[in-house]
Subunit: 401 residues, 2 copies
Amino acid sequence: MENKKLIEFNKILSKHAPPFRDRAELERGKYDFAIAYPDPGSLPLDGLLAALKDGLSDEGQDLALYPDVQGYAPLREYVSYKLKRDRAMTVDPEQVVLGDGSSQHISTIIDLLIDNGDAVITEDFCYSNSLTKLRISGADIHGVRCDKSGMKPDNLEMVIADLVAQDKRPKLIYTIPTFQNPQGWTMTLERRKALLDIASFYEIPILEDDCYVDLRFEGDNVPAIHSLDLTGQVMYVGSFSKTIAPGLRMGYFVGPEEIIGRFRMVRKISGSGVNEFAALAIHRYAMSGLDDHVEQLLKIQRDRRDTMIATLGETFGSNAKWSTPEGGLYLWLQMPESVDLNEVTKEALEAGVGYQPGTMFAADAGSGQNYARLCFGYNSSEEISKGIEVLSDLFSQKGFF
Amino acid sequence: MENKKLIEFNKILSKHAPPFRDRAELERGKYDFAIAYPDPGSLPLDGLLAALKDGLSDEGQDLALYPDVQGYAPLREYVSYKLKRDRAMTVDPEQVVLGDGSSQHISTIIDLLIDNGDAVITEDFCYSNSLTKLRISGADIHGVRCDKSGMKPDNLEMVIADLVAQDKRPKLIYTIPTFQNPQGWTMTLERRKALLDIASFYEIPILEDDCYVDLRFEGDNVPAIHSLDLTGQVMYVGSFSKTIAPGLRMGYFVGPEEIIGRFRMVRKISGSGVNEFAALAIHRYAMSGLDDHVEQLLKIQRDRRDTMIATLGETFGSNAKWSTPEGGLYLWLQMPESVDLNEVTKEALEAGVGYQPGTMFAADAGSGQNYARLCFGYNSSEEISKGIEVLSDLFSQKGFF
C-alpha cells in the first residue's frame, strides 16, 4: 500500500476558507506612522507585573481550570463599571464577553451575521481589518459618505432605502463613531441620534467600534450610541490595546443575549475563553493604576499630535489638508486629487517613513488614493517632526507640491 | 421616524452561525473527575512570574506592537526544538502557529477543511469539543473501532473504502494517538504506520492531537505520527495547558505552508496573533524550569492514577473494567452494558463526584452509555480515594452492582 503522493491542500479546502496570506514580515519605518501603536516607552510594565503578582497570589491556582467562556468574571465586572462611568452605558457583566482585542469580536459578529452577498453599511473609509474580514465573508459593502461630524444621515438613508428597495436589507451597520479610524472625526450627538433612528426604522443592528474612545485628550465626551439605544439593536466593542498594550490582546464585546449565547458556543469550541493570565494582570491593574496611566499617556499623545500637525503646517502647508482629532492615535492626510499615495508608499518606507495609504481603508476598495493615515502614537515628538520632514521632502521630489 | 421595535437577532443570523449556548455555570464536584485539569497546587506560579519579569525586562516594550500573526517567534523556536527533542519531528519555526490551547487550532482546521456533509474519520470515542465543532460544521462523522492499541486498521480501511465507494472521500482523519482522550490507550508504532499507510493511499490528511503526550509517567515513548510521515499529510497540535496551566491558553499547530497561510489570514482578521504577555512568560519558563516541573508533576499524577486504580479495585472490583493509562489525566471506566451512566451523572454530582459519561465522547452521539471518563489530575490522592468510594456507593445503591 505505497503511494506517498503529496496531498494538495489547496484542493480540499472548505468553501469558506479564507485566502492564503504570505509570511511577509511587516516592514516598519523608523518613523512608523503606519500602525496605531501606543507609546512603547510608557507601557505600564511594572504596574502590570505587580498586578499579576497580586492576582496570582489571590487566585493563581484557578489557572488550573479552563477559563469562563465569556472571560474572567471580575474583569467583566470592571468593564461593566467602566462603561457606566465613562460611556453612560448600563451593561450587566453577563452581557460582556472578553476576547483578543476588539478585532476578534468584530470577526465573530461578522461570522454570526453575514452570509455571502449580504449587504453591510460602513463609513466610506474605515478600519482595514474589518473591511478585509467583511470581504472574505462575501459581504456587499456600502460605504456612507462622511464629513467632520460623521456619517451623513441623508446619504445613509438613501443607501439603505436603495438596498431595501432591491430586497437587500443590510444585515449590519458598522461604525467607529469616536476618533474614527482613519478619518479622525468624532460623530456628533445629533448624528448619533439620527443614525440610531434610521437603523431603528429599518431594523438594522449597529456594531459600534469604540476602541479609541479612552484616548480623548481634548473636547467633550460624546455619549456612546449604545447608551442612546432603547431597542437593543446596538452591539459594542472596546479594547485595552490602546490604553494598556496590544500585546496583552484584551478587548470586550457587549451585546444582546441572543448573540452572547452564540459567542459562548464559539468560545467553547475554539479555545475555551480568553487568556486568564493576562486577564488577572489587567483586572488588578485596571482597579489600581490604569486611570493615572491613561492621564499620563494622553499628555504624551496630545504633544505628539500637536507636533505632527505643527510640522505638517511648516512643511506641507497649503499643499495638503489634515484632520485635527481630539483624541486617538492618527490623523487623516488629504493630498490634491491628482496625487496617488499608493505609488510612493514603498519609497517612503525606504526613506524611513511608514504610513497607510487611503485606499487601504476604502469601503469601495478603490477610492482614497490621495489620502493617508498618519499615526502619532509610537514615535517621540522629535522623531515625528523629522519623519514628517522626510515625507515632505519625498513628496516634493515627486512633484506632489 | 419612530419605530423602536426590538430586532430579533435569531432571525438574522448567518447560515453558518453556531447554536445558542446557555450561560449555565459549570457545576463542579468536590471530587472533580469531570475535567482534565492539572494539579492546582503544583502550578509553577512563582516560576512564571519570574519568567515574565525577565521577558518584560528584555523586550516588554514590544508589547506596544501587534504580535506576529503566528505568535511570538522565540516560543515558536522553542516548540520546534522541543518537538525535535521529544517527538523526533523536524519542524521549522515558520511551520508553527501558536494559539489558545489546542482547541483553537482544531477548530481552525475544521473551518478550513470541512463543508456541510463532508466525511470525517475519528476514533469511536474522542475529545468532546472536537466532536461538537465537527457537528456544528455539518461533518458526517465516522468513528473507527479501537482496541488497546488504537484504531483498528481493518475497520479504518473498511470505513474509508465504503465512503470512497460512495464518492465521499473523507476530508480528515482526527486522532489522539497518545493517552487517547477519553480511552487512555496509546496507539502502537505498528498501528501508527498502518494508519499513515491507509491515509496516504487514500490521500486523506491526518490531524494528530498530541496534547497529552508530555504527561507520560511510565512506559516507552512512541514516535509521533508526524515524525513518520513522508508525504506532508500530517498536521499536529500540542499544548502547554497540561504541563503549565490551561489558564495561560497556549498551544501550537504544525502544518504545511498551504494551511499555515490560511491560519495567518484567520489570525490577521481575528485578533492579530496570540497573547504576547503569556507567550513571554511561557517562553522564559520553558527555557528554564519547565522540564523539572513536568518531572515533579508526573510523580504526582502517577500516584493519583495509582490511587484511583487501587480504589476502583477495592470498591468496584469485578463489577467494572478500566484502562490503565501510561500517562495523561484520565482513565476510561466500563460498566456492564445494561448500565446507563448518563442517568446518574446529576445524582453523582449532588453526592460530590463529577465525571463525564461516555456518550459525551461518542462519535455516533449515542454509544457509550455504560462508560465514563474519570480524571485524576485535579484532586489529591486522599480525595480521589474518597470520591471513588462515594461513586461506588452510589452505583451500588442504584443496583449497578
